[in-house]
């Protein structure tokens, strides 16, 4: 009896301590800045540039990930072919790959002297240190978050519905568009949200492959890193925005993944 009470108490203490460890630093961001300072730093060019660049690039990269990732996830969920496991492993790779490695790898491929980049350079096309490079870095690191979730959602759709649709006259393409994708919708949306969030937070690969130029490649995480060396209020303001977005992302995923059927 006593032991159980002690155990309960101990568990509660551990839980409280851990929650404090997570919430205290986040709360400190809000405690270190007054609402007026927060609002005034939102008008600074460095903050505004980073905000708009981040939203544009993360949106574009999420669209690219969804366009390419959806068919890939559908094929891997439904078709059994040689090398499927290898494709799965490769698409998962960016999750475990350190972002700095991803950035260097992209530079080695698409940089001016890169394996592909040297030929693009002949045509006057440069990718490294441009906004395009920001998007590419984000697609690289964020795609697994969508593809994994999409594949799992497609696998959860009972193939009986697809069979029934075929006998009713639906071609494989129509089955995908009218049956499989709508039934997997919740998982696809939450995967896209997670992928967007990961793209928004991307730092390491971006700074290595795209550099850190305000208005062109300086996304919010890069702007935080840069401004904290001089203008701490701008860094904190950007951080607060990212904290709020993170909360919104978690809530959004929880809401869309509530079971409908």
């Amino acid at each position: 009896m006593l032991w159980r009470a002690v155990l309960t108490l101990l568990t509660a203490a551990l839980l409280a301590l851990f929650l404090l460890f997570i919430t205290l630093p986040v709360a400190s961001l809000f405690l270190r800045i007054s609402p007026e300072e927060f609002l005034s730093s939102l008008t600074e060019p460095v903050v505004l540039d980073a905000l708009s660049l981040s939203f544009v690039t993360a949106t574009v990269s999420t669209v690219i990930v969804v366009l390419f990732g959806t068919p890939l996830a559908l094929v891997n969920a439904r078709r059994d072919y040689r090398g499927r496991e290898l494709v799965d492993t490769l698409t998962d790779l960016p999750i475990v790959l350190p972002p700095a490695v991803a950035g260097l790898a992209l530079l080695m491929a698409f940089g001016r002297r890169g394996v592909v980049g040297q030929y693009l350079d002949l045509f006057g096309i440069q990718i490294g240190f441009t906004t395009l490079a920001v998007v590419m870095a984000q697609v690289f690191v964020a795609s697994p978050f969508y593809i994994r979730q999409a594949r799992a959602s497609f696998e959860a759709v009972d193939s009986l519905y697809e069979d029934a649709a075929r006998t009713l006259g639906a071609s494989p393409g129509t089955v995908a568009l009218r049956i499989t994708i709508p039934l997997a919708q919740a998982g696809l949306v939450s995967g896209a949200i997670l992928s967007f969030a990961r793209a928004l937070g991307e730092f390491g690969a971006t700074i290595m492959f795209a550099g850190n130029f305000q208005g062109r490649t300086q996304t919010m995480p890069l702007a935080i890193y840069t401004t904290m060396q001089g203008d701490m209020n701008a860094a904190i303001s950007l951080s607060i925005i990212l904290v709020v977005i993170s909360f919104a992302v978690i809530s959004a995923v929880k809401i869309v993944t509530r079971r409908k059927y």
Binding site: D158, L160, Y161, D163, A164, A165, R166, T167, L168, G169, A170, S171, T174, R178, I179, P182, L183, K260, Y261
Partner: protein, 236 residues
Amino acid sequence: MLSIHTVRELRDYVLDVTLSVRSGETLVLIGENGSGKSTVLNLISGILTPDRGEVTLGDRTLFSSEGKTNIPPENRKVGHLFQSYALFPHMTVAENVAFGLRCRKVPRPTIAFSVANQLRVMHLADLADVNVGRLSGGQRQRVALARALVLNPDLLLLDEPLAAVDMRAQGAMRSELRGRIKNADIPCIVVTHNLRDALELGDRLCLLEEGRVVADGTPEEVLSMRENGFIESFAG
């Protein structure tokens, strides 16, 4: 007229079935679980592909290993009712029934007319805008049947059509189903575990054992084969 000869290697045995069903005739397939009854239906509707053989419906060849023909399921014009009905959970009753017509690019006014008509005949008109998740077993069965019949199929395949219907409602549903099948005047195959289904729906009875037809005849003929263990227990 439907004629099939299909061979397909399954996990435990080789399925090798030869059957034919005339227009307006209902063939009832019986047999133990795992004897290949549902597989035969899947081979006919094209969800599964035979290793070899031939499936012809009227003057159309749906599958022929020799002629290298394999019409995809969407072009076979075969109505296939699944045991669990497989109603699309993200659609209403009317959307489910309209699905096949929309896939065939039928003009919208025609779809609306056909669907309304079919729903009325099937006593589903009041449920048109209801999501299928809220239907009873009997209602689901009628929606599935309406969804198949609205396309005027050349063949009807019914897998345990009454298994998910309330015991009390089964009698009425069975005679209704019988009427629909007779009206359609096409070949029909019914898979069942239920003796009443076999007697009331079937013109012919076929017993499947490990992928082979071991008895084929009128219900009376087949059910009198008391030396067969399955028939013994099936006929009670």
